[in-house]
Symmetry: C2
């Protein structure tokens, strides 16, 4: 049996385009002599469809697409993902289903049993978990068909009390097929391969695993679909961060499974989604690890490109301050959208240092992207004049700093509105964590490019972007970070040094460590408490921030839901 | 047996203050001769604690508080809500538990079975559902102890496949106790009482039901705790929207249960959380129903007061435009915070009509709150001058309108930053739904007071606020709504008339109706499609909006999770 895997990039709710893509791949698989073609989880509507699933009209559009795709299933089996209506009155109204279509009919459906509901996932919000299981017989083979999380319940502290593959094994399947929408994070990729290998070894069956690719607002799906034999050896590995298509021969995979040794697994510890980094010195090393940075780079490019493409925009704008964050964002944007489509705006103030403008100019000259210079002093002064009757002789404070930042935000949005551009936000994760940013000022924008990238990682990314030639001027990399909102200001006036800050943030945000755990690693108690208090009292700011391209296992945004009016470590 | 019900307002994560409140009520109940005192769901940490539950340190603080409260349980039974650690390796790590403390020990725990995961709820994100059930024996009575949603699975289309009270009935309980954190919405209140009555009739047992009160960022809990006899008759009903305390005598309730007729229930249809309004003309009538408006008023006052109190702020600022939305917000803020604590800022432009300023002035004179006037022309002109080299001779467009709105946002934020005020946002739900607002401009602010109140309801609320005397000048109520960002602008230039718009929005947002369903009610197809497109293409704006005080069954914010990069009805 020949099985085609179609690793595609869908647009949520764009039934026409998703269905067209699926049908094209079916026709290609037919012409390649495939017996079966498999797609990914909820491919018909795109994943995650979120509350669109609560609209009956949305579900009925999914059903219409299934009808259309069914009419292309003559002579080939087709496995697609789409919601299925729960026929029982009791329980939620939908299942998250894999539909097996063949000869114009539904040969079978498999419902997802394990519904992820952590981090960015909300599946139990919409779906009833499966409570019965049935292999699907196709051309003499019994297929154990599961969906994404269904195969993730291994290890000694499983998240769920049930294991659907255990149930299916009673029916002696010949192979496993899993359709997924499993997102990228730089902690996660190896886990995924290990989990699939662990399944093949546990059940002594080969697995055909097809994963989605593409960015959906904040969540990046990285593809990397796999065919793994019953010994846990990778037979095929598909591309990462781009669409791919492959026809695999089950016979070859089965022969592989019969010969050769069992692969050795990396241990799947009970907490496999969180890396174990109790050695403080290794945290930064891990965060800036070259492989991680390389993957983050790919994820951010895909994240920018898909946000614009799927929103129907082509052009971006951003404020170019001469600092490292805007420099990295600008380089990424030029790569993702084309340099001619990215306008940089330099907005110096009386507190800007000379190199800020010259560094930013040099950067745009290196890149060849258009840029404007708009000094903010006239607008800033007019704000101060207008506010003078209210501010009177009160000393310069945060209010005046924020006016400058918001003047810049307003200028950028005005140009964006005038020329139909999307403003890219350049805030990094360390700033967002500590609230070191101005709402409606440097926190403005439609997409947060670096919002899940710690400052130390931004530096590493900059060095990576300069790997072939100096695109980002060296001076931007070497100078001390500053918001330049008052004379001689440095980030380090308000924030701890970034190597310390990022370690504490990582332990707290990604690893949910307690203050005592972090202090026990050897960081000053007062400093730890000060940092965690900054994180927890600034939730109200992050709550108004734009979507962030997620690259870590815990990004700000939909995956991290913290009370605003709370009093914890604050 | 005497049972005390303590209906209290907690602060999420403020263990010290929550525990102190609980202990005070225990001591009061002891001195009142109560045998048992009951509190509400997750009262120890506050509800909803959201992702704080993922921090082991947070859980261990809950356990410390239970220890402290236990030491006050000599001579009195105490039922409190707090997370409990799941002793099994399989499944999620926590239960949502009711802890029964007595004589310094844990007499029993009941775990929540039905975990709401719709709208604002995320409980399956954290908790394992209960899978065994045990009545708790106390002073010769068998108590069926459940938590909130556990008693909500009635009707012919239940959301869950299991009913914990059915399980507990096997052990012949004598009474039902339910601890809740059940939020207010104007669709919901009668349902709650009916559900409890339906339980008493189904199981032929009395119910002691204690609900939380207080606002937690966006979700308002309205109290209204109940004691209902086995015939479905209300024996005690506690206050709404404020703390309350009561000692009920089980003997009296049991005697009531023996005598008298069974109460007649309102039908609990399968879709009881959504009102049935297929008669188009009745929608507005329902939205502005006097009882609904009265309750919305109370919820908004509590929402404002608790947001400020729990955030540690006392003073607010808002832009007062002379329009109905800012007028209503200002009146509500003065009532919630005290008129001396609310600063209004009038920011006329060259496009403002004369009455805008005079109406806003008259309003603040009526209220007696401080106000400033800051014309925006100088700042607006300086923006235009700075942008002239880029904008050149392009015609006036949305960009210039937004500059005005953002100038106002910037002025308000500057004053807020200078004087430590929170900016109240005045946008209504009709505007937010259609994207008729400027990001970082009139969409700025820390709390959305009217963000869940449709324009027609804002008018009704204004009339209600004027019920005793004309606080809001009549001219504000009678003039045509306008953003005043260009000459002679009217909302109706861009938006359908509000009575039509609000009907369509309600059917789509609250009731998740399809375009065809709405068209079938008799509204022009092109208009319906235009409105739904406005709703769906403006998700990116609402995503950056501040928390909204939730008063409906479907507010924008945490309860409505829609893809930004989606293509559905858009």
């Amino acid at each position: 049996m020949k099985i085609a895997l179609a690793q595609q990039n869908y647009h949520i709710g764009n039934f026409e385009s998703n269905t067209r893509k699926i049908i094209e791949a079916i026709e290609k698989a037919k012409s390649d002599g495939a017996d079966l073609v498999m797609f990914t989880e909820l491919c018909i509507c795109g994943y995650p469809p979120r509350d669109f699933l609560e609209f009956k009209d949305f579900i009925s559009q999914c059903y219409s697409c299934i009808e259309e795709i069914k009419s292309h299933s003559f002579g080939i089996g087709v496995i697609v993902g789409a919601p299925a209506i729960n026929p029982d009155a009791a329980g939620k109204d939908l299942f998250n289903a894999a539909w097996f279509l063949y000869e114009g009919k539904v040969l079978g459906t498999a419902y997802k049993t394990l519904l992820p509901n952590y981090d960015v996932f909300d599946e139990y919000r919409y779906f009833e978990p499966a409570y019965s299981w049935q292999v699907i017989e196709f051309k003499g083979k019994k297929i154990a068909l599961t969906i994404c999380e269904d195969i993730w319940n291994l290890g000694d502290n499983p998240l769920y009390r049930i294991c659907p593959m255990d149930k299916l094994m009673n029916q002696a399947p010949d192979l496993m097929i899993n359709i997924s929408a499993s997102p990228f994070d730089y902690d996660h990729d190896d886990d995924r391969k290990e989990v699939i290998r662990a399944n093949t070894l546990k059940y002594n069956l080969p697995m055909f695993y097809c994963n989605a690719v593409g960015s959906q607002t904040e969540v990046v799906f990285d593809g990397g679909s796999l065919v793994i034999d019953a010994n846990g050896h990778v037979v095929h590995e598909m591309k990462y961060f781009e669409e791919d298509y492959l026809v695999a021969d089950l016979k070859v995979v089965e022969q592989n499974s019969k010969s050769g040794d069992k692969a050795v697994l990396r241990s799947l510890d009970k907490d496999m989604r969180v890396s174990k980094l109790n050695d403080l010195d290794k945290i930064i090393e891990y965060l800036v690890d070259e492989r991680n940075i390389r993957e983050i780079h790919k994820a951010l490019i895909l994240g920018i490109r898909d946000y614009f493409g799927k929103m129907g925009f082509t052009k971006a704008i951003l404020g170019s301050s001469g600092g490292i964050d805007s420099a990295v964002t600008l380089v990424l944007a030029c790569e993702a959208l084309g340099k001619e489509n990215v306008t940089a705006v330099l907005m110096p103030s009386q507190y800007s240092t000379g190199h800020s403008v010259s560094d930013a100019e040099q950067l745009s000259k290196n890149l060849g992207n258009p840029y404007h210079t708009v000094p903010i002093k006239p607008v800033y002064d007019s704000f101060l004049t207008s506010l003078q009757p209210i501010f009177k002789d009160l000393p310069f404070s945060l209010a005046e700093e924020n006016i400058q930042s918001r003047t810049r935000g307003n200028l950028l949005m005005a140009i964006a509105n005038k020329f139909n551009l999307i403003l890219l936000n350049t805030s990094n994760k360390s700033e967002l964590a500590t609230g070191y940013g101005t709402l409606y000022g440097d926190m403005a924008g439609g997409l947060g490019v670096l919002g899940d990238v710690y400052k130390m990682q931004v530096y590493a990314l900059a060095r990576y972007l300069n790997r072939d030639s100096e695109v980002i001027p060296e001076n931007i990399l070497s100078k001390a970070p500053s918001a330049e909102l008052r004379p001689d200001q440095k980030d380090s006036d308000s924030l701890p040094e970034y190597p310390i800050l990022d370690k504490v943030l990582y332990q707290y945000i990604e690893r949910r460590q307690s203050p005592n755990d972090i202090i026990a690693l050897g960081i000053d108690e007062a400093l730890v408490r000060r940092i965690l208090k900054m994180v927890n009292t600034n939730e109200y700011k992050r709550n108004q921030f734009c979507p962030i391209i997620r690259v870590s296992n815990k990004a700000f945004g939909v995956g991290r839901r913290v009370p605003i009016v709370g009093k914890y470590l604050s």
